[in-house]
């Protein structure tokens, strides 16, 4: 083998793709040729660099959050005025956000009636007061169910306690907890534990927020949240009012914002999550400290107004015990794995959302958990199997979508083993890895 032939084969050699004979010839040439050997070493060094970079990013999955943000942006009305230009490239980090709020404040004070300007001033002061936090602890009550995902709002349910602990310095760590579910980030990895179904999932990297807790993190990032409210008030013309009250002998500034989601009334996800809900948000600030003390969010739903979220305790800069950012899991916990591509996957990836829903329900009906598991993001643990085992699929309807995300919703009518009937919509999400439609909710 000469130098030209050897160099043509170096990449294949480094990938171990040469047959035995070619590999021996190539290696024999490398033994005798210093130039080709140097070339081979340069290629393997570059491969090592590339491998290290790829491995560091292996767990990153941001398609879904990016597309969610893009869908939200698409629903924002375009306003080419000085304010929309100011806001277009916003970034909100602590004092940066507060500084931005101050800029907006100065513009709004000149252009809006006095009452509105007072409200905006209170929000801006709150943003500034919260800009240098070391930690925050929120105690809230949310109308939802204890074991469902962290973001779902269910106005017909009772209040469930939900808490967030967030440490900003020296290292970002957080924990969100409600009775049936915990999510935490310990600075190195991010973990979800579902107490009800006894399954857990770990992301091998820290994250700013995860597992549908984004809305609560936004609430905790007060300077950013209040800054966002300022921007939305101006950009969308949301009505805002301010009153002064005395509570426990202390003066409080109460700012009320009427927020619109801009989603069409007939969208299926309207009023299912904070970002898709028309709400009245009431912020109560202490006049002396200028810090936010409580928040109440009321949903304007089709059945009338319902209070859905109450943040009734906010602790600033308290020392959070290190044990908060760890959790002991049961020995028999099932670990949630990402679905992997397997031979014969085309059969599933070529299915429509409706076909996937049908195959899933029918597999549950006959207790074929291997087949049913092809369509779930979560492990089919014993409590889930007990719930679904022996069900009868009565009918499926025509799938439909939402402007909020790319999920498909398949109406279903199923009859459980005990005779109970359930009519609802199965949410299915196209999995990036396998191309399959996977159950994302609605069970």
């Amino acid at each position: 083998m000469n130098c030209a032939e050897c160099r043509d084969n170096l990449a294949a050699l480094a990938e171990a793709l040469l047959d035995c004979n070619e590999s021996l010839q190539c290696r024999a040439h490398l033994e005798t040729c210093a130039d080709c050997r140097a070339e081979y070493e340069a290629i393997t060094r570059l491969q090592q660099r590339l491998t290290a970079r790829g491995e560091a990013a292996a767990a990153v999955r941001i398609v879904e959050p990016v597309m969610r943000r893009i869908h939200r942006e698409e629903y924002k009305p375009e306003r080419e005025n000085i304010m929309s230009r100011l806001l277009k490239y916003r970034w909100g980090f602590g004092l940066g956000a507060a500084a931005c709020a101050a800029v907006i404040l100065s513009v709004i004070l000149l252009t809006t009636p006095r009452a509105e300007a007072r409200a905006v001033e209170a929000l801006a002061k709150g943003a500034q007061a919260a800009a240098k936090l070391n930690s925050i602890h929120l105690r809230c009550q949310l109308r939802t169910v204890p074991f469902d995902n962290f973001a779902a709002i269910m106005p017909d349910q009772g209040f469930v306690n939900i808490e967030l602990w967030k440490q900003f310095t020296p290292e970002l760590k957080w924990r969100v907890e409600k009775p049936g579910r915990v999510a935490l980030m310990d600075g190195k990895s991010t973990l979800l534990f579902d107490r009800h179904a006894n399954f857990a999932m770990r992301l091998d990297q820290p994250s700013a927020s995860a597992f549908d807790t984004e809305w609560l993190h936004k609430m905790a990032d007060l300077s950013q949240t209040l800054n966002d409210e300022l921007q939305a008030i101006q950009a969308h013309g949301w009505p805002v009012t301010v009153t002064t009250e005395s509570q426990g002998g202390r003066a409080k500034t109460v700012v009320t914002v009427e927020a619109k989601s801009n989603l069409p009334e007939d969208d299926y996800l309207k009023n299912k999550f904070f970002e898709t809900t028309d709400t009245r948000r009431v912020y109560v600030f202490d006049e002396e400290s200028e810090l936010l003390e409580s928040v109440n969010v009321t949903m304007h739903g089709s059945a009338g107004d319902v209070s859905v979220l109450e943040i009734n305790q906010i602790d600033y800069n308290t020392l959070i015990d290190a044990s908060v950012f760890s959790i002991e899991l049961p020995a028999d916990v099932s670990w949630m794995q990402k679905q992997q591509s397997t031979p014969g996957d085309e059969k599933y990836s070529n299915m429509t959302a409706e076909q996937s829903a049908r195959t899933f329900f029918e597999a549950c009906g006959r207790g074929d958990w291997n087949e049913a598991g092809k369509f779930t993001m979560f492990p089919l643990t014993d409590p889930i199997k007990q719930y679904l085992d022996g069900l009868e699929l009565v009918s499926l309807g025509t799938p439909f979508g939402s402007a909020v995300n790319q999920d498909q919703f398949v109406p279903y009518n199923i009859k459980f083993k005990n005779g109970d009937v359930k009519k609802f919509n199965l949410a299915l999400r196209k999995d990036e890895q396998t191309g399959r439609w996977l159950v994302d909710g609605g069970l």
Partner: protein, 183 residues
């Protein structure tokens, strides 16, 4: 079937925003890797990567060469990283930031590698991204791109040569700049 960057950009501009998701899927890992090296903090890198993609989508009409999408995206990401750094400095106002924004890990500082990948011809870039950032084997890359495995290894071989050439050129520029800046 995999479309080119140009095709996905054009489809996104023509009212199919879901096709932008394919570009996010294609470049999320190299972009994250680039930003992790720039900002030295993984949660912030993820946040910045999301922000970069959203800004890219909102400015997509301004992209004059759709085939250069990734290179243009890195430009946006570089500005986002700078904004983050500046705002962090304002927020903390002490040397703590300087400590968290830099790292002793040599791999993490290797962001010129992603910049060099950005200037590769698209077919070479695609093979590098699938092989290293998606972790596919050469055989899997061949299946994904519907090309013989020999073409994959030849494309890799050419991509390595171009990358080394580009990295060397960047090192020379850096050395020259350092010499000029010496007192």
């Amino acid at each position: 079937m995999e479309l080119t960057d140009r095709e996905y950009v054009e489809r996104s501009r023509d009212g199919h925003p879901e096709d932008f998701g394919r570009l996010v899927d294609r470049y999320q890992k190299p972009l994250f890797s680039y930003l992790a090296a720039r900002v030295g903090n993984l949660p912030q890198a993820e946040e910045a990567a999301q922000e970069s993609f959203v800004r890219a989508f909102l400015s997509l009409k301004k992209l004059r060469k759709p085939e250069s999408f990734y290179s243009w995206l890195l430009g946006i990401a570089g500005r986002v990283a700078k904004e983050q750094f500046r705002l962090e400095l304002h927020q903390r106002r002490d040397c703590e930031v300087a400590q968290t924004m830099t790292t002793d890990n040599d791999d993490a500082k290797d962001y010129p590698l992603e910049e060099a990948i950005a200037v590769l011809p698209e077919n070479h870039r695609q093979v590098i991204v699938l092989r290293y950032y998606e972790g596919l084997s050469c055989q899997e890359v061949a299946t994904r791109l519907d090309m013989p495995i020999g073409t994959v290894t030849k494309t890799l071989s050419r991509a390595y040569a171009l990358l080394r050439q580009e990295l060397k050129a960047r090192e020379r520029v850096e050395q020259t700049v350092n010499q000029i800046q010496k007192p």
